[in-house]
C-alpha cells in the first residue's frame, strides 16, 4: 500500500513539473496551437421569456407597494379550495380539474393558496404579489398547458375599494403594454371575490379597431386578468374581520401576457426549450 502511494506521488509530481515547464516556456513555443484560430463560442445563458415577464410584472407592482410572496406547489384542499370559499361538490370546481397526489393533497391549481397563507400569518395591511407554478388537468394545446405560471395580487386594508382595484390594474396595464392602453372591466365570477370582474385591454394586435382581427375575434378587446373584491367569507376563514377590512385580488397568466405582447401563437413554444425561439428574448 505504502509503495503504491509513493509511486503515485512520484507520478503526480513529475506531471506537475512537466506542466510547469511547459507553461514557463510560454504558449508561443507550443507548435500545435494556432493563435489565429477564432475562439470557441460559449453559450451565454439568459432568463426564460416567461421568467422575464414574471420579474417585470413583480417589479411594476413593487413600485406600487407590493411585496413578492411565494408558497408550496403541493397544497391541501383546504388551502386550494375551501378556505377560498369554493363550496364542496360545486360546479365551480369543474374549471379547476386537479392533479391529486393522494388524500387531500394536490398540485395547486392557482397561486391563491398563498393569499390564505399570508392572511393567516400576517396582519393587515397586506400588499403582495404571488408568482408561481400551477397545475391543472387541461389538454396540452395551443392555448392550454397542464403546467403554467400565474401571478396573483392581494391587497387587504381598511377602506380598500373597487376604485383602488381598478386604478391599480389600469396603471399596471399602462406600464406593461403602453401608456395609452385602455382597459375595461366586465362582470365575472370567482368564488373568492365578490363582486368579480375580468379586465380586458385594447387588442394589442389591431389596436382596438376590431374588425377582421383574428387575435381579438373582432371585438377590439383582449381578456388579460380576473379580479374582484375579496369575498368576506375568505377573510373570515383567515380570522380577518371583514367588517373592518376590505381587500382586492387579481390573477393573471404571464404566458398569456407574453403571448399578447410578442404575438406568440402557441403556448407550447414556452416549453419546447428550442433555443432558436428562446434566444429572441434575451
Amino acid at each position: 500500500m505504502g509503495g503504491a502511494a509513493n509511486a503515485l506521488k512520484h507520478d503526480l509530481e513529475r506531471a506537475i513539473e512537466e506542466r510547469e515547464r511547459d507553461l514557463k516556456r510560454g504558449a508561443t513555443a507550443l507548435a500545435d496551437v494556432d493563435l489565429t484560430m477564432p475562439g470557441r463560442g460559449q453559450w451565454r445563458g439568459a432568463l426564460h421569456i416567461v421568467t422575464q415577464i414574471v420579474d417585470e410584472i413583480c417589479d411594476i407592482f413593487r413600485e406600487l407597494g407590493f411585496t413578492r410572496a411565494v408558497g408550496p406547489e403541493a397544497e391541501t384542499e383546504r388551502y386550494n379550495f375551501y378556505a377560498l370559499n369554493f363550496p364542496k361538490d360545486h360546479p365551480a370546481l369543474d374549471a379547476q380539474d386537479s392533479f391529486y397526489l393522494g388524500g387531500d393533497v394536490l398540485l395547486r391549481t392557482h397561486t391563491s393558496p398563498v393569499q390564505i397563507r399570508t392572511l393567516e400569518n400576517y396582519k393587515p395591511p397586506i400588499r403582495i404579489v404571488t408568482p408561481g407554478r400551477c397545475y391543472r388537468r387541461d389538454p396540452f394545446d395551443a392555448s392550454h398547458s397542464p403546467v403554467f405560471e400565474q401571478i396573483e395580487g392581494l391587497g387587504v386594508d381598511e377602506g380598500l375599494t373597487f376604485v383602488d382595484l381598478k386604478s391599480i390594474l389600469a396603471a399596471f396595464a399602462r406600464r406593461i403594454f403602453s401608456p395609452t392602453t385602455k382597459v375595461r372591466f366586465r362582470p365575472s365570477y370567482f368564488p373568492f371575490t365578490e363582486p368579480s370582474a375580468e379586465m380586458d385591454v385594447q387588442c394589442q394586435i389591431c389596436g382596438g379597431g376590431g374588425s377582421g382581427c383574428a387575435a381579438c375575434k373582432g371585438t377590439g378587446w383582449m381578456e388579460i386578468l380576473g379580479s374582484g373584491m375579496v369575498h368576506p367569507a375568505v377573510l373570515e376563514n383567515c380570522n380577518v374581520d371583514s367588517e373592518k377590512y376590505t381587500g382586492f385580488a387579481w390573477g393573471m397568466g404571464p404566458e398569456r401576457i407574453a403571448m399578447l405582447r410578442h404575438g406568440i401563437p402557441d403556448i407550447r413554444l414556452f416549453f419546447d426549450s428550442d433555443v432558436r425561439f428562446l434566444e429572441q428574448f434575451r
Binding site: 370559499n85 363550496p87 364542496k88 361538490d89 360545486h90 360546479p91 365551480a92 369543474d94 374549471a95 377602506g159 375599494t161 373597487f162 376604485v163 383602488d164 375595461r184 372591466f185 366586465r186 362582470p187 365575472s188 365570477y189 368564488p191 365578490e194 363582486p195 368579480s196 370582474a197 375580468e198 375575434k217 371585438t219 381578456e223 373584491m229 369575498h231 368576506p232 367569507a233 376590505t246
Partner: protein, 508 residues
C-alpha cells in the same frame, strides 16, 4: 349556452341584432364566445311561384314547370318532385346559385330539355330530412324575394360562457331578462302557436305555485300512484298525466327553434319538453305510461347494484347514493340525469307521465360523475333550478304538449313538496355597497338596478325572483348589469338565494 337571436326576439317582442346582443351581454352579464349566423348558405335561394306544370316530353316522372322567379320572363325548370303544383310557392335556386354543401347550380339539359334552375326540397336546403318532395311555402312574398327575407329561418346563435353562479342564464328567459334591462324592454313568454285552440290545461285547475297543505309524500293522479320516498334527493316533485297524445314529428316552428340552438328534433313530445328546458330552465321528463308497472312512480334511493339501460343504450349500475325514479318494480330514470330506453316515449305511446322535479344539486353532481354521463338536465339540476317556478313551467309544458300532440288531462297535476320553501330574502346594506365600491350608490339607485332584473325590494331586504340562485356560493345572487348591484353579500345570506331544499344542503 347557445341562445337563438330569434328566440330572444320572441321573448322581448322586438327585433334584435346578434352583434349588439353579444356586446350588451359581454359588458353587463357574461362573456360571449361567438355569434354564429346559421342558414346563411341559403342567401342565393329565392321565392318562386310555379305558373304552369306540364309533362316532360322525354320522361314520365319529370315535369316541366314555368316558374316566376321575379325576372322579366318566366323560366322553364325541370322538376322531379311529385308534389309540384301550379299556383304554389317554392324555394328556388337560380342558375349560378350555391346551395348548402357547396353545390353550384349550372344551366343544363335534363333529358333533352334545358332547366334554368331548381325547385328545392327541405333536405337540399339543410332545413330537414324531407326529400320526398319540394318544400311548399306558405308565403305572400313576391316571386324573386330572397328566401331568407321571406321565411324566418335565418338566425344567429349567441354562444354565452355562463359561469357556475349564474344558472339563470341557462335558458332564453334568463338571458332575455338581462337584455330587457339594457334595452328597456319587458320579457313575456310568447303565445304557443295553436295553444288557444286546445285551451289552457283543458280547463283543469292550474297547479298552484305553493303546495297545498297537507304536504303529502304520496298522491294519486289519474290512476297513477306517486310516492316521494326520498324528499332529500327530490325536495319537490310534480307529476301530470296526459292521455291520448299522438306522437309524431314536431311542427316546423318548434323543430326550427330547437335546430337553431343545435338540438336535434326527435318527436313532438320530447321536443316540447326540450323547448321548455331551453325556454325557462326547467328540465322535464316524459315517459310512457303503458310501460309503467303499477302504474306507479316511486322516487327513492336506488338499491346498490340495481341496473338500468339508459337512453344511450348503456347498462348502468346504480348505487344507494343515487336517486332513482322507479315504477312499482324497478328504476325507469336515473333522477335528473337520464331516462331508460325502455320507458322512453315512442311512436306507439298514447298516454304519458310528465315529470317536473327539483333534484338536489350535490346528489346530481355526484351521480353523473359516478356514472360518467352528463345531460342538459343534469347540467341544470347540478347548478340549481328555480324551485318556485316549477308549476308555471309544468303548466306551460302541458299546454305545449296538448298544442303539438293533442291529448287530454283528466285530473290536475300533483305537487309533492313536503317542506315548502318561501322566496328567499337577502339583506343589502346600502352603506356597505358604497363602502366596497368606493363610489356613492344611493339606495334609490340600488333599488332601481335590482327591480330591473325582477327583484322585489322591501325595506332593507331584497326578495329574489325566479331562477337567480346559486347554491351556497354566498353573495353571488346578483352579478348584475351594473357591477354596483353585485354587492348584495351579507352575513345573513349564507344559504342559497332561492329556497334551500333541506338543511343538509348548506355545508359551506
Amino acid at each position: 349556452m347557445i341562445v337563438s337571436r330569434r328566440w330572444l326576439e320572441a321573448l322581448l317582442g322586438r327585433p334584435l341584432e346578434g352583434r349588439d346582443i353579444a356586446d350588451r351581454l359581454a359588458r353587463q352579464v357574461a362573456p360571449v364566445d361567438a355569434v354564429v349566423p346559421i342558414h346563411q348558405d341559403l342567401r342565393d335561394v329565392l321565392i318562386a311561384r310555379v305558373l304552369e306544370v306540364r309533362q316532360h316530353p322525354n320522361a314520365d316522372r319529370l315535369t316541366l314547370c314555368l316558374v316566376d322567379a321575379g325576372g322579366s320572363a318566366p323560366l322553364e325548370v325541370v322538376c322531379g318532385a311529385p308534389n309540384v303544383q301550379a299556383g304554389k310557392a317554392y324555394p328556388f335556386a337560380p342558375v349560378g346559385a350555391t346551395l348548402p354543401g357547396g353545390l353550384k347550380l349550372e344551366r343544363r339539359k335534363i333529358r333533352g330539355v334545358e332547366s334554368n334552375g331548381m325547385l328545392c326540397s327541405a333536405k337540399e336546403l339543410g332545413l330537414g330530412v324531407d326529400h320526398a318532395g319540394i318544400l311548399e311555402l306558405q308565403t305572400n312574398a313576391a316571386p324573386g324575394t330572397p328566401f331568407l327575407e321571406a321565411i324566418p329561418v335565418a338566425d344567429e346563435q349567441i354562444v354565452i360562457d355562463v359561469s357556475a353562479n349564474r344558472p339563470d342564464l341557462l335558458c332564453h328567459k334568463g338571458v332575455a331578462r338581462e337584455l330587457a334591462v339594457s334595452l328597456g324592454a319587458t320579457v313575456k313568454l310568447p303565445e304557443i302557436p295553436g295553444g288557444s285552440a286546445v285551451g289552457r290545461l283543458g280547463g283543469l285547475k292550474h297547479a298552484s305555485p305553493t303546495a297545498q297543505p297537507p304536504n303529502r309524500p304520496t298522491a294519486t293522479v289519474d290512476g297513477v300512484e306517486v310516492r316521494l320516498e326520498d324528499p332529500e334527493g327530490a325536495p319537490r316533485y310534480m307529476i301530470a298525466v296526459v292521455r291520448g297524445v299522438k306522437v309524431g314529428p314536431s311542427p316546423v316552428w318548434l323543430s326550427a327553434r330547437l335546430q337553431a340552438i343545435g338540438q336535434r328534433s326527435i318527436n313532438n313530445i320530447v321536443d316540447a319538453t326540450n323547448y321548455i328546458l331551453f325556454e325557462v330552465n326547467q328540465p322535464l321528463h316524459a315517459f310512457d305510461l303503458a310501460r309503467l308497472r303499477g302504474p306507479a312512480v316511486v322516487v327513492r334511493r336506488a338499491k346498490a347494484g340495481e341496473q338500468i339501460v339508459t337512453l344511450d343504450g348503456v347498462v348502468r349500475k346504480l348505487t344507494a347514493e343515487m336517486t332513482a325514479i322507479c315504477d312499482a318494480e324497478r328504476p325507469t330514470i336515473v333522477a335528473g340525469v337520464m331516462g331508460s330506453a325502455e320507458s322512453e316515449v315512442s311512436e306507439t305511446t298514447t298516454d304519458i307521465v310528465l315529470e317536473c322535479a327539483y333534484f338536489q344539486p350535490t346528489r346530481i353532481r355526484r351521480t353523473r360523475r359516478a356514472l360518467g354521463v352528463s345531460s342538459e338536465s343534469s347540467y341544470r339540476f347540478e347548478r340549481g333550478i328555480d324551485m318556485l317556478a316549477m308549476p308555471e313551467a309544468l303548466n306551460r309544458a302541458i299546454d305545449l304538449i296538448r298544442a303539438v300532440a293533442g291529448g287530454e288531462m283528466r285530473e290536475a297535476s300533483i305537487d309533492l313538496w313536503p317542506e315548502p320553501q318561501q322566496p328567499r330574502s337577502v339583506f343589502v346594506r346600502d352603506a356597505r355597497v358604497s363602502h366596497l365600491l368606493g363610489v356613492p350608490v344611493p339606495r334609490k339607485e340600488i333599488e332601481r338596478y335590482l327591480s330591473a332584473v325582477g327583484r322585489r325590494t322591501t325595506g332593507w331586504r331584497c326578495r329574489c325572483p325566479a331562477g337567480a340562485r346559486t347554491s351556497r356560493a354566498r353573495s353571488t345572487s346578483s352579478k348584475r348589469s351594473h357591477g354596483s348591484a353585485a354587492t348584495i353579500h351579507s352575513r345573513t345570506s349564507s344559504g342559497p338565494i332561492v329556497p334551500a331544499p333541506s338543511p343538509t344542503r348548506r355545508r359551506s
